[in-house]
Symmetry: C2
Subunit: 338 residues, 2 copies
Amino acid sequence: MNISELANELGVAVSTVSRVLSGNAEKYRISQKTVARVQQAAEKFHVTPDPLGAGLRRGKSGIVGLLVPDITNSFFSQLARAIELRLRSSGVAVQLCDSAEDPDTETALLEKMLGRRLDGLIIAPVGMSSPALLEKLRNPTMPIVMVDRPLPGLDSALVALDNRSAGQKAATHLLEKGHKKLGCLRGDPGSESDQDRFAGVEDAFREFNIDPQSLISEGGSYSREQSVAAARALLSAPERPTGIITLSGQGILGLLETVRAFELKIPADLSVVAFDEQPWSPLIEPPLTTIAQPVDEMARKVVQILEQKLNTDTALEPREVFAAELIGRSSVTSPREK
Amino acid sequence: MNISELANELGVAVSTVSRVLSGNAEKYRISQKTVARVQQAAEKFHVTPDPLGAGLRRGKSGIVGLLVPDITNSFFSQLARAIELRLRSSGVAVQLCDSAEDPDTETALLEKMLGRRLDGLIIAPVGMSSPALLEKLRNPTMPIVMVDRPLPGLDSALVALDNRSAGQKAATHLLEKGHKKLGCLRGDPGSESDQDRFAGVEDAFREFNIDPQSLISEGGSYSREQSVAAARALLSAPERPTGIITLSGQGILGLLETVRAFELKIPADLSVVAFDEQPWSPLIEPPLTTIAQPVDEMARKVVQILEQKLNTDTALEPREVFAAELIGRSSVTSPREK
DNA sequence: ATGAAAGCGCTAACAG
DNA sequence: CTGTTAGCGCTTTCAT
């Protein structure tokens, strides 16, 4: 049953029912009695306004799209959870899309979402987009907020970590412990976040006046295979690093796998700082020193920006940057004397 | 620009544009020339049929709802990812809802989704629903598929693990190694899946003719705190179990935390079998023996059932059960001699 | 305080 | 092969 049938049933106008059910009774000064009658009947017959009809009329779908590279990655699942929770309380639904870290899929997905007339778009991008798509994105029909990383060439609002200083924090921690030779397990060296983190590591080297030659890095994508390959390369280097920083959230998995294969011990043979705190980081042997992102705060900010763009038509595109926190645990010690 | 404006622009009827753009050109035998002209213009002006209008007309939104207890739990995030991927290829979008393991939230969310006139509902339930909601769910306006666990009182299609034999497998593995005293870290003992897993464990005890008194269990919810409390209780028992099975996916986190606090060593002091394979299960020290669910196959089945219900109006509600796989690793050994 | 009616953008039935 | 048109369910302006 829909609201006009309900209206018939009650002998009132559709508009009255509509006003009551969409919470505008007061605004239109519907009588207490009518309100009660309508609500009661609506309850009884399980009547709710069809969002399709309402959406069509209002020109809004009540849905925002959320595009993540990998919902399986705990950073993104935490983000998704927090974003959905907050948006829900504003009556907005979240459409989930997973690009599987693949730029082409991402492009296809963005095209789809753009066509779906969503109310807004939250994008955690992987790659760069085609010029055609980029142009559409630049003149969006809906507010866009990027998280985690910017989409190259797009100046939309962005919520991200201060990656550079996060990288610096990680490296400084190791350098302070006396490590001289460090390895970085990079994610996608083409991504801005990866570059920034690495740049931060280099900053630390400069600050400590250590020869940048002592810093080696490997990596090429966020895939498990690539992480493993990179880890192997790092651990097979002529002069093996005494400390490794995994710059991408998933990198630690590849590293741990490889460390095991090489029969190395953390931290005796190798100190490790891992990007992204995970639920299991404190629980493994040894507990991992990590760089944690303030996921919840970031989610809050994303939603806040989005809602602001939804409600006002100001065209400002803020870049909000959050500080990472180094959580010191036992995967880092001073290097063994030779 | 919408399709009727496009039609004007081209001097053709809206219906023609509609037919071309919704892929029915062939069916209506639109001329090659017109098709080309329309497609080209649509491309040029970025015109896609508004799904709100189309949906309203067709009576379908093109969206299915996915309700999970915790997207942060890797079982559910893998499930969500696989489901979204498959549904996407049928042009269906996925609305994500996270009930945070809370029955009340779940109820509220289900009410919302029911009202949203989604095309279908995929539910991984937490608790039991109010009788009122249950009745709505029983006469659903859309196909419903449950995953992981049934919603008590609802006979909709279900895709789940063969929990009983999974529990049995886990216990048998421990019992075969010579363990006599086992502990179960349960999730929510009110949930059917938890009960089945536990029943499976009891089956194994019976099969091995071991006194059921040697089987103790603790737990009350899926929360981290409860897991820790349960783990503490288990490890503080008068006669400490030599082996523990974590029946819920998150339980292992609480157990590991507690094992660490108690300064116990796995597997020397305690053998462990953990439900749900996680990306890090093989990588920690010691690598965990786990019970793995065939997530991808389960996702495939969910989507298959849903699409079948979407396309035909057969009212069959299959219960599909999948076999768990025990992945043997080093967290289980024979118990120390006393 | 409420009703009547227009129209959001689309598809499908019907017409030719 | 293509056009015309009704109407999906709703909100909102206008009218009273």
